[in-house]
Subunit: 473 residues, 2 copies
């Protein structure tokens, strides 16, 4: 059985915040948009998490949203943007949602081919005096969040030291020379965050604020403080009421996830007997042992996604402003890359809890559009724990990695990872869920391309604002 | 490039039929339900077919339906029906939709544990004088169609010779002794089709009508004719106008699919070099060559799913009756089991074309509810043609089977099959799409369990009928 008790700190801190947030009486703050992105959260991930968390017949909070759509994930070839690419990454898919333009894999807010800066929803919002916020469990400079405020040719260029001829994994060299400020670019992603003026930015990625800003004798963090950001680094600091611009950096890079497999176990390869290795019809196979999900000790002290989102909402509405808030549950994807089903499930639980916060907020702020979607599909497949061919006297098993998870309803659920045998699994090209609260009625058709999500957000955020003469700019 | 010219016969026959069908002027035949099931048609299958057929930015006909929902696929343990099973088969999932009860894998219209006969929608409809039809590209006695008219403990018991101690694949023994008529059962599936009184039944499976009926000196086919069925076996016979009960059997078992991979190729395993076989970081890998989809020569002469569906609609509405029609595109699943992406794509194209027929019918028959759904997920995954790790100097490749398909927009799309290395891939447990035309507004919520689809059908079919005093029984 799963064992998850480590949420009490977050609940207490959440209660403190609720005192602030819930005190705001019902205000028709029409025009607000809360976009919640589950990174890699395709229907397999949702079904796996549902089975674990509430049982196969149960309903997650996101399952209860009244409007369902699906998004076609688009990606194009960088050298020839007329050519489609059928599987996306978080950089180009987030750029689709943030800017309404399909671009190429790895690009942040820039166009494929001619490397133009694409106007994003945060820039449009700020021009209209609309407040903006970014919350994520990844580094705040990671692909999904950065596509909402930055423009850079490669997602890897997250800080000033990662701009020129940097070696990343397995000898791959990345280079963002053309994005250097000295080359009339906008600088690295962390520098662009500081320059973006986004009102609230909460997540991981503290290490990207330690280097000196390009051409500066101050670190990016010091530059942030200089431009008016209050910087917080712990859950307790986060829960302390305040106003003004807020930058929260709670871990060096990706924030640790809430849950993990027993002892940190990931999916494992079934082990065929020697006889079966000789011929597939012979011998037997040993499956990985079932595992519980358990609290991840590294998560202790981390603010939950819900707590970060509550804080963001509190800050963004302090002066009864309209706002755009992007919230990302990042590690559904990152844990799936690592074949860690419990990690993905816990992260989806975080998203679902956060959606609860957003729905409660929308209750008291009618007209707040809530969208829940994913950026792309992921490798994890919910497969049969007992093969269809279990009556056959020969071993039938996955050629990939399998996690067998003990669910909270007392069954064993098998999750298969088999896009490759490399150390990291890959994305898939499936279309992804797009859900909305009732405010989306008439705004969100039954199917959209991912760039059309930008139009939906823009339409709700800016039309409403324009219709309010007090706030017209 | 794909090469698909073999549809002309069907188009001509379709035109003949349209003369009959389209002559019916707009009639408010409220209460009709057309349920279209894509067997194994999860979102991966839909995306793969979309990319191939209309391009990644294109829209299939089913993409254009105005209401989107999703269905939780439920299955239970046969010995302990309180225990969920996370991956279903077509028998139990079709029983969910036909009878509103989640049952165990392999069961047709019977309950898990106590083996009760579950009342199905066709029985309810017939009691109210509503006409009924079944159209499929599988055997008419296969799991999905039979769950709508039959009650038997095992899906394999398709004809009188397959009832007792029959050896199926790899020595598996199936036994439906308790369903024998001599044991107060209802007999085999083909016999039950004849007894069901369903007005139109079109598909494959002729071989299941050749054996003598249990305790009879007549074949099941002769028994069918005796009970008033007109039997047709060719597309030309099918297109000939007629009235009364119709049984069409166009192939011995599953109908041949429209398309196949070049020369019948299925997905293949990437072949690592000797060096790579020694260590995963070394050497290289040879991927399967890309393939076109081409016409399947075995399909020649087959009626299309659209033609069968047009005929069924014509027969069912001959006297301006209300009707329930289940249409199954069966081989999305069956071809995916065999790792044949082109076969699945062609079959989904058949479904999409058939949906066009249904929508045209609903135009002239307002109030006709059209539902499009799948019964369960399948193995096929749309994966990256160019791995995310293509810049790394080591081979990264699927441990499963890969089909690389040349799409009609001129790109290569990679489809991965990796649930096992056995001769047949397996189902997955993902929730599946449920789409509806505008008549579903207020009837189809954004998420349902699969048994709730039965309630939706029943509600539309019977409520409307009851409100019509002339037809009240």
């Amino acid at each position: 059985m799963g064992y998850h008790s480590g949420k009490s700190v977050n609940l207490i801190l959440g209660a403190l915040l609720c005192a602030a947030l819930c005190a705001i009486s019902a205000i028709s703050n029409a025009g607000n948009v809360i976009l919640i992105i589950g990174d890699g959260m395709d229907d397999h991930q949702v079904t796996i998490a549902r089975n674990y968390l509430v049982g196969s017949r149960g309903k997650l909070t996101l399952d209860q949203l009244p409007l369902r759509s699906t998004a076609q994930v688009l990606s194009v070839d960088d050298k020839n943007p007329d050519r489609p690419i059928y599987v996306a990454d978080s950089a180009n898919s987030a750029t689709s949602m943030a800017s309404g333009v399909a671009t190429s894999v790895g690009r942040i807010g820039t166009s494929a081919g001619d490397d133009r800066d694409l106007v994003n929803i945060i820039e449009l919002a700020r021009k209209k005096g609309i407040k903006t916020g970014i919350v994520t469990t990844a580094s705040i400079t990671d692909a999904t969040p950065s596509a909402f405020y930055a423009h850079v040719s490669l997602r890897d260029c997250e800080n000033p030291e990662m701009m020129v001829e940097v070696e990343t994994y397995f000898g791959t060299i990345i280079d963002c020379s053309q994005d250097l400020k000295s080359n009339a670019g906008l600088g690295s992603i962390s520098e662009q965050l500081v320059d973006s003026g986004v009102d609230v930015a909460l997540g991981g990625g503290a290490k990207h604020f330690i280097p000196l800003g390009e051409g500066s004798d101050q670190t990016v963090l010091q530059l942030a403080e200089k431009t008016g950001y209050q910087v917080v680094t712990t859950a307790l600091e986060l829960a302390t009421k305040g106003s003004g611009k807020l930058l929260g950096l709670f871990s060096p890079s990706t924030m640790p996830v809430m849950w993990r497999g027993e002892g940190g176990r990931a999916a494992e390869k079934p082990v065929p007997s020697l006889l079966n290795s000789l011929h597939w019809t012979l011998g037997s196979v040993t499956y990985p042992e079932p595992m519980d999900c358990e609290d991840n000790p590294e998560y202790i002290g981390m603010p939950s996604l819900a707590l970060m989102s509550e804080t963001a909402l509190s800050r963004l509405t302090a002066d009864d402003d309209t706002f755009f808030l992007m919230i990302e549950s990042a590690s559904i994807d990152k844990q799936s890359h690592q074949r860690k089903a419990c990690g993905s499930i816990g992260e989806l639980q975080q998203l679902d809890e956060t959606l609860g916060v957003a729905l409660a907020f929308a209750e008291s702020h009618p007209g707040t559009l809530i969208l829940v979607t994913a950026d792309h599909g992921q490798a994890a497949q919910l497969v049969a724990e007992r093969t269809l061919f279990s009556d056959i006297p020969m071993p039938v098993y996955s050629p990939g990695h399998v996690a067998r998870i003990n669910t909270l309803e007392g069954e064993v659920m098998a999750v298969n990872y088999a896009t490759n045998d490399f150390i990291i699994e890959e994305h898939t090209g499936v279309n992804v869920p797009l859900l909305s609260n009732a405010v989306g009625q008439g705004l969100v058709p039954a199917m959209v391309t991912q760039p059309e999500i930008f139009n939906i957000i823009k339409s709700h955020l800016l039309k409403q604002k324009q219709s309010d003469p007090i706030n017209r700019i």
